[in-house]
């Protein structure tokens, strides 16, 4: 009796295994089919929408990289080249000079250069910038808003979920196609729908 049932036993096991294998393969094909419909060939990268950014300062602290992969960039086209720069100088500075006591930037990453009376050029040293957005806040509230934050893709690790995006209070960070990886002010407008046309 025992011996007789043995091959049957093995046959049954094989049947169950093959059936389950087929079912699992079917599931995989199903999942693949569901996903394939909306795949995209190019990857996605994380980027900040400068018009949504509220300069909360979390970009400096929440990035998995230290210092952050978020840097302040300067859209020179929008800059007013002001002498009294809200992004460079502290509120109520002692003098409009490059003295450390007058600088808003905690790492002195903005270089101020005289061009011609009364205009000054502001250039960001990205090696020093920590992405704290202090200058962005100053420039946005008192100036043209030419200073703004962007994720620099030579530094960004492109995490599956951006650690800053997870805590960004304005939900300003989102995935965008990797073939257009920046949203730099000037070229990038507040109304992207119009911009596309």
């Amino acid at each position: 009796m025992q011996d007789n049932s043995e091959p049957k036993n093995i046959e049954r096991r094989r049947f169950i295994r093959n059936g389950m294998q087929l079912a699992l393969a079917g599931t995989l094909v199903g999942v693949a089919a569901l996903s394939v419909k909306k795949t995209r060939a190019s990857g996605m990268v994380w980027q900040i929408d400068p018009f949504k950014c509220v300069q909360c300062g979390r970009c400096a602290t929440e990035c998995v990289r230290m210092p952050s992969a978020v840097k302040c960039v300067h859209a020179y086209n929008l800059c007013g080249y002001c002498d009294l720069c809200g992004g460079y100088l502290k509120p109520d500075p002692n003098a409009r000079s490059t003295a450390a006591e007058n600088q808003l930037c905690p790492t002195a990453a903005i270089q101020r250069r005289f061009i011609e009376d009364p205009f000054y050029e502001y250039v960001i040293d990205e090696n020093l910038c920590i992405g704290c957005a202090k200058c962005v806040a100053g420039c946005t509230s008192f100036g043209n808003g030419s200073l703004h934050l962007q994720i620099r893709h030579n530094l960004c690790k492109n995490c599956n979920e951006c650690a800053i995006a997870r805590v960004c209070p304005a939900e300003a960070i989102s995935r965008i196609p990797a073939d257009k990886p920046y949203q730099i002010k000037g070229g990038f407008r507040k109304t992207p729908a119009k911009d596309k046309g």
Binding site: L34, T39, V54, R65, Y76, G80, I115, E121
Partner: protein, 421 residues
Amino acid sequence: MNRFLKYIFFLVILAFGTVNSMAAESKQRFPKPEFATGYSQPNTTAPAARFQLLEYLDVTVLLAVMLILTWLVLKKRSRRGVFWVSAFSLLYFGWYREGCICAVGSVQNVVLGIVDPTYAIPVTALIFFLLPLIFALFAGRIFCAGACPLGAIQDLIAFKPIELPKWLQKVLGLIPFLYLGLAVLLVATKSEFIICRYDPFVGFFRWDAPFHMLVLGILFLLVGVFVARPYCRFFCPYGVLLGWMSRFSSHHMKITPSACIQCKLCANSCPFGAINEPVAETGKRRSNVYRLMVYFLVLPFWIGIGGYAGSKMHVQLSRFNRTVYLADLIIEHPEVKNDPNNIDVRTFMSLGKSMDKLIAEAVVIRKQFETGSLILGGFMGLVIGMSLIRLSTFRKREDWEPDQTNCLSCARCMPYCPVKE
């Protein structure tokens, strides 16, 4: 008539307002000066993202590694080969690619791709998700053997593996199911990617990590010296899927190349406790079958309990979602509205979104969590019920065989087998 005039007046005001604000937007507060000294304005730099072709190189490397591993495990039966391939994977996917892209996290991308109409999953992420599963369906968990950088880093430091008691292995073995379920729930509600957030080793691959990641990683490595591959066995959510595939794989590796001679030399060779001993059938077959049927009849009961417990948790779980969290916070502690240090509340207040809208959004998300945690609980009930069934039933087995669900195909047992082909 009066109403009509009012309407026209309103429209005119509206149009005027729109034009006005558009003009204000396009004009600078401080117009760009015209320079007399021939100053040339520098360009705003935009360093490029990683070259797209390299992403496809990753996929090719994964495919190559998987093929080589399959050959090494199934044909060559070489532990040494598997070791060197896993060292390569650790270098390439770990330190060169810095842990992203990875198959373990891709589960979340696939789920997000299915539930979120605005998210398009990159082809590479989809392939990283599917390839290891397809291989597992035919040849077992080849991916775990030497293609996964997370597995490889633990594999290399398992110096003094001790055998955990079976009951502990079973209990800890339930965690991955919960982790997978939670991860899917949190992605399906568009809350967050917990698998990536709590990835313990990515910090080592980047030489740079937040504090909690480092602590988690060091802890896992320390434990990993004595308990072989703790993350793979007791946490990895992707391992659950691989286990399901591998369980029914047709060409899973065998300990012996031909017929087992019952020498028991391989018995202690597996650091993961994934070798099944021979089991003789005891008792009457008919009564055993009846017993199994009773267990299966109890299964819906387990699912019910799990579902009930799960749905009780939905309020707590839904706080993982930031919208729900913020709404809860403001309702329960209205005083935070005036707290200048709470960045989230401050931003919410300054953006001018109404409280009603926030609550409406939070209610919708909490509803999703209600359904989701019911399903999650039911799933956990099913998992617990099934593992109890597996614990209390015998499966007749004559030879020493790898446990196909948990076997990581690392080939450590093979050199212990005296049988040659």
